[in-house]
């Protein structure tokens, strides 16, 4: 029997134990845990969250920290990379809570990984704030410690359907194509429900699976159903391809909406003139003009601060929502008066505050109930806000008769 080499492995196990970082848990630092996807498929979104977390921490610490009750204490954000791997996100959430003793966790991008992190948070009674998870299913298993700054999809789709019916004469036929993935799927289904409720005729309704490399079949079918309104959801690369293929196959409609496409700068960069006229609804846009509490009193102040850091790249709803969540936390801590998990949780539940990101007030299931979510459109290579009227900067343009 060859010599058995388990002995050679023993030192490796010891080394692993030593590696484990010892954090001094003290009451004088407000620690936020942030499992982020810095590598792997969701790396883009993870890096966006990381940027605004650091911006906020620097700005707040420069101003002496956050006020908790009567004390001003510094903030610290503990980051780990979970490599866009769901199970590892849960593992890291546990490490943040048990080893780093964080008071609050910022959930990672996307509804799926948010649920995994929130489940761990719930077990340890540590509040979890999801700034990029919008499908109701994430908040459907009555997790008292989970709060989301994105409003439910239904808010967005009902508002958009109503807005389009008002501004587009004889809008009757709508075609919906969604990506079969947690968030894009719920947006597509919410739109179908909203359209039927508003009496529109849904002439095409299908989902395309993850891993679809080509949309010709779906786009041709949409063309054949000659809709007045085309509504497509998916990640940026799906939407870039879909828009190209619509142009390739000569498929268009008076209103073309793509969800969360135009909200990202990569979309307009990659498509150039093709992005013209594409509408989208989003949770936030930098051209909105809100005023509120916290490190960034107005949208413009956040926008300029961001441009300085990003070298001219515009912030999108991911940046807005996550920065808004942190700003909201300042208000929560002031009301909570202590760093105890339950106190923070109760203060979070009672939150009803205005921020540069917009209104934040959590409903029964922990989701932000803010109503008037901005509707945007690409006009002359720029993003214009069409709704709500209070911050509208342009009128809807019909894409093509």
């Amino acid at each position: 029997m060859p010599t058995f080499s388990i002995r050679r492995l023993a030192p490796a196990a010891a080394f692993l134990a030593a590696l484990q970082v010892h954090a001094v848990s003290a009451e004088d630092v407000f620690k936020i845990g942030a499992p982020l996807a810095l590598t792997g498929g969701l790396a883009d979104e993870g890096l966006k969250q990381q940027r605004v977390y650091r911006m906020w921490a620097e700005r707040v610490n420069a101003a002496g920290g956050v006020s908790v009750g009567d004390r001003m204490i510094p903030v610290e954000i503990v980051e780990y990379d979970y490599q866009s791997d769901g199970p590892r996100a849960g593992q890291l959430a546990e490490r943040l809570i048990t080893d780093d003793r964080v008071h609050v966790i910022m959930a990672p991008f996307g509804s799926g990984h948010t649920v995994i992190t929130a489940t761990v948070g719930e077990r340890y009674r540590v509040p979890t704030i999801a700034c990029v998870a919008s499908s109701e299913s994430v908040f459907a298993n009555d997790n008292r410690y989970l709060f989301g700054t994105l409003s439910p999809n239904a808010n967005m789709t009902d508002v958009m359907t109503a807005f389009l019916q008002e501004n587009v004469p004889d809008l009757t036929r709508v075609a919906v194509l969604g990506r079969d993935d947690v968030f894009p799927k719920s947006m597509a289904e919410a739109t179908v429900r909203a359209a039927e409720a508003a009496g529109l005729q849904v002439v095409y309704n299908a989902l395309y699976p993850v891993g679809t490399m080509d949309h010709s079949a779906a786009v041709s079918a949409i063309g054949a159903s000659n809709p007045d309104w085309i509504y497509i959801t998916g990640y940026t690369q799906d939407l870039i391809l879909a828009r190209r293929q619509m142009d390739d196959l000569g498929v268009t409609a008076p209103v073309v909406t793509m969800v969360t496409g135009p909200a990202y700068q990569e979309y307009t960069d990659a498509l150039g003139s093709l992005a013209e006229g594409v509408t989208s609804s989003s949770w936030w846009h930098h051209s909105t003009t809100y005023e509120g509490v916290g490190a960034w009193p107005t949208t413009v102040s956040f926008y300029e601060d961001f441009l300085a850091v990003s070298g001219g790249v515009d912030p999108d709803y991911v940046h807005g929502s996550c920065a808004g969540a942190l700003v909201m936390l300042e208000d929560v801590l002031a009301r909570a008066g202590s760093l105890d998990g339950e106190a923070i949780r109760d203060a979070l539940a009672a939150t009803d505050v205005m921020t540069f990101y917009g209104q934040i007030s959590f409903g029964e299931n922990g989701m932000n109930q803010a109503r008037d979510l901005p509707i945007i459109q690409v006009q002359d290579r720029e993003i214009k806000v069409l709704f709500p009227p209070s911050i509208a900067s342009a009128d809807l343009r019909i894409v093509a008769e």
Partner: protein, 319 residues
């Protein structure tokens, strides 16, 4: 066979794993759970990949289907342990049925067939929305205990499955079935001529290699509390498991468990310290493994490594 020393050291290792909650933080306990889980998967793979020499990449299909059957059963009110049993049997039946089809293929074609099984399972589960929640994923009822208790419980569960896989390996190794499977690996035609019912033996081997993967999947679903098609059918896992078995020594009884432990520990160390480059480093380890540990950690033979490095296994090497 397996020496007394090997068995003793393995028992010691199991004791260390089982007692991590006493001397380490939850993060280490969680790593121990992952080690036990991957050891069970690697040991299960060993039956078809190690003993029989059929390079199967279907592990994650068994794991994923185990997750879903266990999760759906639990959501329907079935008690946890029973749900796991149902998952095990269901995955075993699936493996037997699919095995009968793809085990007629050999070498690369079998490997591709096993990968195809993973993709078909993922596509079926993600499009069967009414039952599996499709792309939305599925919430599995959670154990409402104290987190430390939950971690310890699942540590013992995974270690239990690992031991079951270990015992299965040892029994098969001593039994006629193991002998026949090894004949098939060495020379399938000769095995056929010598009287081994190769088709039936391969199907039994394939099913045995699937059973406990189903159990692991179901237990994992109960532990994590949320499963979705992309995470439950990760291509990365289905390649990692054979690599772990190779690292330890495929075809031996202890090899896969040793390989899984070494791989998970190395992955944790590199991932924690080299943030951006951990995937490349892991890749480098795998490449190094191919050249310097041809037989795996259990039978380190520098002679065989030297042979491979000098190109004795290249196309022009004398026969």
């Amino acid at each position: 066979m397996m020496s007394r020393l090997g068995l003793a050291l393995f028992a010691g290792w199991v004791v260390i794993l089982a007692t991590t909650p006493l001397f380490a933080e939850n993060y280490i306990v969680r790593t121990a759970i992952m080690i036990a889980m991957y050891s069970a998967l690697a040991l299960s793979w060993n039956i078809i990949g190690g003993f029989t020499g059929y390079p199967s990449f279907a592990t994650v299909a068994f794991f994923g289907v185990g997750c879903y059957v266990g999760g759906i059963a639990q959501r329907a009110g079935v008690p946890m342990a029973l749900a796991w049993a149902i998952a095990t049997v269901a995955v075993g039946a699936m493996a037997a049925a699919l095995g009968a089809i793809i085990l007629r293929l050999k070498g690369h074609y079998f490997a591709i067939g096993s990968i195809a099984i993973v993709e078909v399972c993922r596509l079926v589960i993600s499009s069967w929305r009414s039952v599996t929640g499709g792309g939305d994923g599925l919430n599995v009822p959670l154990l409402r205990w104290h987190p430390d208790a939950v971690a310890q419980f699942f540590l013992l569960v995974m270690i239990g499955i690992m031991l079951a896989a270990f015992v299965m390996n040892a029994l098969v190794d001593r039994h006629r079935l193991g002998f026949g499977l090894k004949c098939i690996r060495q020379n399938e035609d000769a095995a056929d001529m010598v009287g081994v019912d190769t088709t039936r033996y391969k199907i039994v081997g394939f099913t045995l290699s699937a059973l406990l993967c189903g159990t692991v999947g179901a237990a994992y679903a109960s532990w994590v509390g949320y499963i979705d098609p992309t995470d439950s059918f990760q291509i990365l896992m289905t390649v990692k498991v054979p690599v772990m078995a190779l690292m330890g020594g495929a075809g031996t009884v202890l090899g896969p468990a040793l390989g899984a432990a070494a791989f998970v520990i190395l992955e944790e160390i590199f991932w924690a310290n080299f943030l951006e480059w951990n995937r490349a480093i892991l890749g480098a380890i795998i490449v190094a493994l191919i050249f310097f540990l041809p037989g795996g950690l259990l039978n380190i033979s520098w002679r065989r490594a030297a042979r491979r490095l000098r190109g004795r296994e290249s196309a022009e090497a004398p026969a």
